[in-house]
């Protein structure tokens, strides 16, 4: 027998009461943990993906949509911009580098992105096997694409128009996998990368459907005009979706967006600013749910306090007897504190399992969550503080009852029979 065991046996003696308190505590902790896990992973992944991109230039529309579509690949593009206009922009002194993107197709829900090798370098992607694309209609795929679709080097597939897998296939030109990337925990993991000309070529076929005498049978591979860096050669009506721009100096951030937004048909949006805006919008909701969770934890603490306090009335004889058996005042104090801590710690552990389980369950429910890199099976910063909170609540809830136990006047209680 020891104090811990003694407290544990008292807890076990009131299973329903204990269950309620543990459940309340667990729910509060679980909600906070879910928010913490989602928030921190979202923030981490969003900031990782926008690294190195000072400005995104695309078609006019919602700036947030422009960022979500072109940096995080979770929203639809705002439209297309003229290749010539984009090229003109790259000649600006403020522009250090510009990576073009052409979106619009998918394969089984994974986006096909026309770009150049700079895009892979931007996210410090490296090859797991094979090579980066060079010829049109060659592609290099992200690790999740390879894993989930079971694609290997040499496999061929037809892209589908649009960004969801229900759309019509472009069944004239097939892509060929030439390389697979290592996991980078960035947008690359879920993308199929190819030349911008590949995208054009696939769409040209669609436009000229039925035009039998076109070079349909010509399978001579064409080397991309700008597969490593820069913008591809294209006709006057050629279009791309967007450009990711890095400035030469901070001056660019001041001058460029205004210049682009007022003087051209294009729109410029800053990933830093837009994600900041997104978080402040989400923050209101997150904070409200968080306050709600803290209220639940306070109620849990209160409930534990009340049940300990009430139980102590019935237990004053028990405590006096323990004193008469030789227990010191301090031991009784610790005995009651233990009871509070044990309940809240079990609640904390339950909340921990519930929180992580819930996130994992939700990520399984929504396909998109994997695309932005959210998992329930990771520990996030701040999580241990939450468990510390649960122990703290236990101490707080039991400190007054424990103090009463400490002050038990043996003789008075025992004489009251």
């Amino acid at each position: 027998m020891n104090l811990f065991l003694l407290s544990w046996k008292y807890i076990k003696d009131k299973p329903l009461n204990t269950f309620l308190n543990v459940l309340l505590m667990g729910l509060g902790i679980a909600i906070i943990l879910v928010l913490l896990i989602l928030n921190s992973q979202l923030e981490e992944n969003l900031s990782k993906n926008k690294r190195g991109i000072d400005l995104v230039v695309g078609a006019k529309g919602s700036p947030l949509q422009l960022i979500l579509a072109n940096v995080y690949h979770i929203d639809f593009p705002t439209g297309n911009i003229k290749l010539d206009e984009a090229k003109a922009l790259t000649r600006n002194r403020q522009v250090k580098s510009a990576i073009p993107l052409a979106l619009g197709d998918n394969y089984q829900g994974f986006r096909i992105v026309g770009t150049n090798h700079d895009y892979v370098k931007l996210y410090e992607g490296s090859l797991a096997s094979g090579d980066l694309w060079k010829y049109n209609l060659e592609c290099t795929i992200g690790t999740n694409v390879a894993m989930q679709l079971g694609l290997k080097i040499g496999d061929e597939f037809f892209g589908a128009h649009g960004l969801s897998d229900t759309d019509l296939d472009h069944d004239e030109a097939s892509y060929k996998v030439v390389g697979i990337l290592e996991p980078s925990n960035s947008a690359l993991d879920n993308l199929i990368l190819t030349n911008i000309e590949s995208i054009w070529q696939v769409h040209e076929h669609t436009d000229e459907e039925g035009d039998e005498d076109h070079d349909n049978h010509d399978h001579e591979p064409v080397l991309g005009s700008a597969y490593e860096t820069g913008l591809p050669e294209g006709g006057s009506d050629a279009e791309i979706t967007s450009m990711l721009i890095q400035f030469r100096s901070a001056m660019g951030a001041v001058v460029m967006p205004r210049m682009i937004n007022s003087d051209t048909n294009m729109q410029a949006a800053s990933p830093a600013f837009e994600t900041q805006r997104l978080f402040s919008l989400m923050g209101i909701g997150v904070n409200m749910i968080k306050s709600f969770a803290y209220i639940i934890i306070v109620i849990a603490g209160l409930s534990i306090f009340i049940s300990l306090y009430n139980a102590l009335k019935d237990r004053k004889y028990d405590l006096a007897i323990m004193r008469s058996l030789g227990a010191s005042k301090t031991k009784l104090f610790i005995h009651v504190i233990f009871e509070g801590i044990i309940i809240t710690t079990i609640g904390g552990v339950l909340g921990f399992l519930l929180g992580h389980g819930l996130v994992e369950f939700l990520t399984g429910l929504y396909e998109k969550s994997e695309a932005i890199g959210i998992s329930g099976m990771v520990l996030v910063k701040g999580e241990f503080y939450v468990l510390l909170i649960s122990v703290g609540v236990g101490v707080l809830a039991s400190i007054l009852p424990a103090f009463n136990a400490y002050r038990t006047q043996i003789s008075k209680v025992l004489a009251q029979e």
Binding site: M1, D318, S328, K329, S411, A415
Partner: protein, 211 residues
């Protein structure tokens, strides 16, 4: 063995009782008699180290009880004084065994299940070892408290109104049991009671009504 010197005690300043000198020798038993409110429980608590007297000394085997510090006193009480109350104050969340283990744990002596079985057997409670306290009858519960009081081989066994809620037959047998067990364990037995049925059980008596 137990010496009381210049003891002043009572509920309040108004009603103080005093015992100038009293000695209880080894293996001697004492009956404290008095009606309700006469101060017999108070005296018993003072002898048991549960309540500091207004004035005076209690010496057990030469140890001045109230010169000990709080924690020393708690330990001394746990190891040397066994207490039996009118109601069987057992910890109902625990089994019989755990109640007795607790007595060993709190008094700081090694926890010994063999000793627990031995004491329970002498009180015919051997098969109740793992029963929850709530499953026991009143009589059984009281015998468990006696077992608990004797567990640590105390020098002094104190019983407060042990027969108050019992019928004639049982009152007598509880007194006999306490006496027998105290003698087996070489402990002095002090009983405080207002129960006329048992007042003549011991030769040595202290009548608080007369004070």
């Amino acid at each position: 063995m137990i010496t009381i010197e210049n003891l002043n005690f009572g509920y309040s300043e108004k009603r103080l009782l005093s015992i100038s000198h009293m000695e209880i020798k080894e293996k001697q038993h004492l009956m404290i008699l008095g009606k309700s409110g006469s101060g017999k429980t108070t005296l018993l608590h003072i002898l048991g180290g549960l309540l500091k007297p207004v004035q005076g000394k209690v010496l057990i085997d030469g140890t001045d009880l109230y010169s000990l510090s709080g924690t020393e006193m708690d330990k001394y009480r746990g190891q040397n004084i066994g207490l039996v109350f009118q109601k069987a104050h057992l910890i109902s969340a625990l089994t019989v065994k755990d109640n007795l283990l607790l007595a060993q744990y709190f008094s700081g002596i090694p926890q010994d299940k063999g000793r627990i079985k031995e004491v329970l057997n002498t009180l015919n409670l051997g098969e109740k070892l793992n029963s929850k306290v709530r499953q026991l009858s009143q009589g059984e519960q009281q015998r468990v408290t006696i077992a608990r009081a004797l567990l640590n081989n105390p020098r002094l066994l104190l019983a407060d109104e042990p027969t108050a809620s019992l019928d004639d037959d049982n009152a007598d047998s509880v007194i006999q049991l306490l006496k027998e067990q105290a003698e087996n364990h070489n402990a002095s037995l002090i009983i405080a009671t207002h129960d006329q049925r048992v007042k003549d059980a011991f030769d040595l008596q202290l009548n608080l009504n007369e004070q």
